[in-house]
């Protein structure tokens, strides 16, 4: 069980997808203006990540040993289909949730964090449970980064900022400070070992 915790903490904090690996930046900058939307986006991404991790561990075990060169294409197809299925299920079962998530779900397909998760899970040789812990950690880390970013941006909305730093300039500087803060998590897992 120690291994699973380690994988979770590493993916969520030390090797945060957004702030250390630079994946999933489009939603990180695109939907981080309000905290509630950031939370919803984080939730949606985490959910799709968990589904993807399960599907990928199945693919890795059964399909890809036969045709390793189709790895990338099969991952893409699986992610795109999963997103589509989730969208349809949510639409049928919970229209309210669908309205809340509506525009975010399709954007997840082109969210590189999901594909990165799949590729990384393979590269590290994670099995089903490790993959699950990894997906949950990565999702939690993504949500945390997104919510932190959104709360800072919400506050800075009314701040007086030089014209050239409005929009992206300021967002980048905030991201840089967050990323620096997250560097402090490095060593978290090795210190006691």
């Amino acid at each position: 069980m120690g291994d699973l915790t380690r994988i979770f903490v590493s993916a969520a904090l030390i090797n945060n997808f957004v702030l250390a690996y630079f994946v999933g930046l489009c939603p990180f900058f695109g939907v981080s203006k309000k905290v509630p939307t950031a939370l919803r986006m984080g939730g949606a991404v985490t959910f799709v990540m968990v589904l993807t991790a399960s599907a990928v561990s199945f693919l890795n075990a059964w399909v890809l040993p036969v045709a390793p060169y189709l790895r990338l294409i099969s991952y893409i197809v699986v992610i795109a289909s999963l997103v589509q299925i989730v969208e349809m299920v949510v639409k049928k079962t919970s229209p309210a949730l669908f309205r809340a998530l509506g525009i975010y779900l399709p954007l997840i397909t082109t969210n590189c964090a999901i594909l990165y998760l799949a590729l990384f899970q393979y590269a590290r040789g994670y099995g089903f449970f490790e993959g699950l812990a990894f997906a949950l950690g990565a999702g939690a880390g993504f949500t945390l980064a997104l919510v932190l970013m959104a709360s800072i941006r919400q506050r800075s909305e009314t701040a007086s900022v030089p014209a050239i730093a409005r929009e992206m300039g300021l967002a980048m500087i905030i991201a840089a400070s967050l990323s620096m803060a997250f560097m402090g998590f490095a060593g978290l897992l090795s210190a006691g070992a």
Partner: protein, 227 residues
């Protein structure tokens, strides 16, 4: 946009609609692999191959693909090109392939490429599509090189591995670490807005984000665009 000259089509991608610096697309590779100039060049070349190849192919087959499945078809085409690049890189330049790691396969989800396929190549003939793709690739490469150059120079004191800074230069290690990526891009983007706002006082301080022809801003995008 078809009445534009080839030069205009090309230059638009390089500067006016630079994918990274103006449209803020393809941020992941821009930040992730620019801790050295060498990595930046390799990434720029790989992406250029994929974007030119897929734009050309999309433009050639556009008339045969029903619009309902065009997104899936484009993604399939792009994924094929990326797999090919990934394999070739692993065979020809193993060290490079190791340095870029998962960011080569991640070219697939670089929205810039799908964006050019959908917004331009699917509506234009072969030659303009190639020009448009080459322009976009050039714009992307410029951004990557700028980032890589600044970060390697300040973070390691070198350029392409050659010592440039004086010997007593203490490298700003932070520049080749993740925060340095955000800082550098932030500085470049601020420089860009200074450039755009320079002399145009009548313009509002906050410029609306510029989207390429034919691409809707994400807030107006509808779920149907998914592959």
């Amino acid at each position: 946009m078809t009445d534009r000259t080839g030069r205009e089509v090309f230059l638009r991608g390089v500067w006016e609609e630079n994918p990274v610096l103006v449209q803020i697309l393809g941020l992941c590779p821009t930040l992730a692999v620019t801790n050295s100039v060498e990595n930046a060049i390799a990434m720029a070349l790989a992406t250029a191959f994929v974007i030119v190849g897929s734009s050309a192919l999309v433009s050639l087959v556009k008339d045969y693909i029903p619009s309902q499945v065009r997104m899936s078809a484009y993604i399939l085409i792009i994924a094929t090109f990326v797999t090919v690049v990934d394999l070739i890189m692993g065979a020809v330049a193993p060290a490079m392939s190791k340095a870029l790691g998962a960011f080569v396969p991640l070219i697939v989800v670089n929205c810039m490429i799908l964006g050019r396929a959908e917004a331009f190549a699917s509506k234009n003939r072969l030659l303009p599509s190639i020009l448009d793709a080459v322009g976009t690739a050039a714009g992307f490469s410029i951004a990557l090189l700028l980032m890589g150059g600044v970060r390697e120079l300040l973070g390691s004191g070198t350029f392409l591995g050659l010592q440039v800074m004086p010997h007593n230069w203490e490298p700003w290690v932070i520049m080749i670490l993740p925060p340095g990526g955000f800082l550098t891009l932030g500085a470049i983007l601020m420089g860009m807005s200074w450039w755009w706002q320079r002399g145009e006082k009548k313009d509002e301080a906050v410029k609306p984000r510029r989207w390429p022809h034919g691409v809707r801003a994400p807030e107006e995008r509808r779920p149907e665009m998914v592959a």
